[in-house]
């Protein structure tokens, strides 16, 4: 081995010393992702794209009227109050702040799991994420439901699974992504826990909505929107995820102020064939929804109640997901 070769070997060993200073992780750090997102949003806002959001900051926040006395939950990712074991029955859960009524409906060869939920305060409609909202972490909905004291929980839109990340997502008031997707519908839940649907994520509509002084607590890009302002929508026949096929589906609807319905259509089994988007829309409309929105379906469709599944599912085939929607109790123990 000559001197030149030895020198090269020494150089190689020394070059490697840079690695501990250069490489923090194979994964993109959450802090870096957040920084890049902030920069992207700032660029867009500088371009005037989201002027409505600036206006939103200047306008006073609307306050919700509460029908029953309850302690509002904080607008963050903290769990709800522990549930009262005496509040559970075979048909649901009830305490002074939340009522869940479960019902199984069999219609045209499809098993629908229906949960009607009433809450006393908007803060009881909550979301949880498996890790940092912008991360790719996943967890079982059943585990997240248990740890967050959910009276009932369902999957949301599995936002970490969206490969292109062109979506508009808020979770508990935190802006996670801010790219309106013109091919997808958008559900925004405001400070009153009221639903607002935006077909094809209409930019002008979203800006108009924000200009009215609303705050976004949760936003989900998925869809399609099924029922809007009490009217059954004409659905886009080319919408994603097999719109005409019979599939397990999950939908959330608002019937009135602080009154909601969660619907899981079971599928891919001999007992229940699943539904198309149109069949699901009709079902939600018949339930009396003023607003209804399709969430992630297939094996993602998960409804968790009282430590178990309100559907034909086991932990062995539960799909771990990044986020969930749940209703919590506002009654402090």
């Amino acid at each position: 081995m000559n001197r030149k070769t030895r020198a090269l070997i020494a150089l190689a060993l020394i070059l490697a010393l840079a690695l501990p200073f250069l490489v923090p992780s194979g994964a993109l750090l959450d802090s870096q992702r957040n920084r890049m997102m902030e920069e992207l949003w700032q660029e867009e806002e500088a371009g005037g794209e989201d002027a409505g959001r600036l206006l939103n900051l200047l306008l006073p926040r609307a306050s919700a009227e509460t029908a029953k006395p309850a302690t509002p939950l904080p607008e963050d990712f903290s769990p709800g109050y522990p549930l009262n074991p005496a509040g559970f029955s075979d048909t649901g859960y009830r305490d002074d702040s939340v009522e869940v009524a479960l019902e199984t409906v069999e219609k045209d060869g499809v098993v629908f799991r229906v949960a009607r939920v009433s809450i006393a305060h908007p803060s009881q409609l909550r979301t949880a994420t498996a890790g940092n909202p912008s991360s790719s972490r996943v967890a079982f909905i059943s585990s997240m439901a248990e740890k967050n004291n959910a009276a009932i929980a369902i999957n949301a839109n599995y936002m970490a699974n969206d490969p292109v990340k062109t979506s508009y997502e808020y979770r508990m008031g935190v802006k996670v992504r801010a790219k309106l997707n013109r091919t997808k519908d958008l559900l925004i839940i405001d400070e009153n826990a009221d639903f607002h649907l935006f077909v094809k994520s209409g930019k002008q509509e979203v800006e108009d909505f924000l200009a009215k002084g609303h705050r976004i607590i949760n936003a989900f890009t998925f869809g399609p929107a099924l029922v809007k302002d009490g009217a059954l929508l004409t659905l886009d026949g080319k919408y994603g995820y097999n719109p005409h096929g019979d599939e397990p589906r999950m939908a959330i609807g608002q019937i009135g102020p602080l009154s909601y319905v969660l619907v899981l259509a079971e599928g891919r089994s001999k007992d229940s064939k699943g539904v198309s988007h149109e069949e699901l829309a009709n079902f939600m409309f018949d339930l009396g929804c003023m607003q209804a929105f399709n969430l992630d379906g297939g094996n993602s469709a998960t409804m968790v109640f009282n430590g178990g599944y309100y559907q034909n599912k086991s932990r062995d085939n539960e799909r771990a997901q990044s986020d969930m929607i749940y209703f919590a109790s506002a009654v402090a123990p």
Binding site: T5, A16, L19, A27, L28, M37
Partner: protein, 320 residues
Amino acid sequence: MATEEAALFRLFGAPVYAYGLALLLGCWAGLATLFCLGRKQEGESKAAAVAGVLALPLGLALARAAFVLLDPGFAPFLNLKNALDLTGGGFAMYGALLGIILAALAGARAGKVRPARMLDLAAASAMAFLVPARLGEGFTALGISRPLTTQWLADSFLAYRDQYDAYLRTYLLEAAFALLTLVILLSYLRRAHKAGRVFTLGCLLYGVSQTLMESLRYDGHLRYSFIGVQQVLSAALFTGALAALAVSLLKTGKARALPALSLAALPLIWAAAVGVEFLVDRSSLGKLPSYGLYLLVLAVPLALGVSMLRQEGRLAKGTD
């Protein structure tokens, strides 16, 4: 497991990252393996030295390039400034491995050594690099599975627990497989009948094991919905190795059945792997039996590849 601030301490004001330290150990292990294997011949030692110097910058650059170009999560932020900012993480292991291969080929050219021989040495060195590198993932957000449903596994040292669930530390398994592959390759280096066959065996072993590991991993790294880029690359790696072996055997004109069977089996293996992936995601069969089935499916290309290597060896010795 650190996801946000992975710095262990600061040295002269600069952060020192735990994962970077693991990569440093990996590099030193890889370089030591390369230099030791190539030390006996002047040409090889020169080739190894050149490859060693080039491997680090090439590996780092290609690992970064592969990540920024292939990770869907990075796509909205893709610009030169963000791509060149290494301090926030974001690297793809296959890019690093490609860097090692290119460095080995450049080294072979510089040292006037057969490229196939340098690839053999690089294959073993890459495995030596991977052992600490994979262990280092324990300090990052990478290298964990879906939530575990098998209780004994959830209670074992292989599990990592967070506020919700227990997850398999797949990086430990990956490090163990890399170590095992290293031992096999080092042993095969002495017995290989043809230059380049250690590299082929390395591609086969790493491709097969990593196909399984990437299925186990569920960390969102380089993942398009349910499809992991690195899993597809792993499957392509063992497919390429099998196809190369089969074509080489067919060209000899002395063996037909086994290479033909191997080529015919490839689409079936892919189909079976896709089927098992669906089973893992949707079936109530349970993850453990599903992965048992996956092992059986992946044992097929491994068995075919090893059989072809043996047959080729026997033909080379004139005993077949």
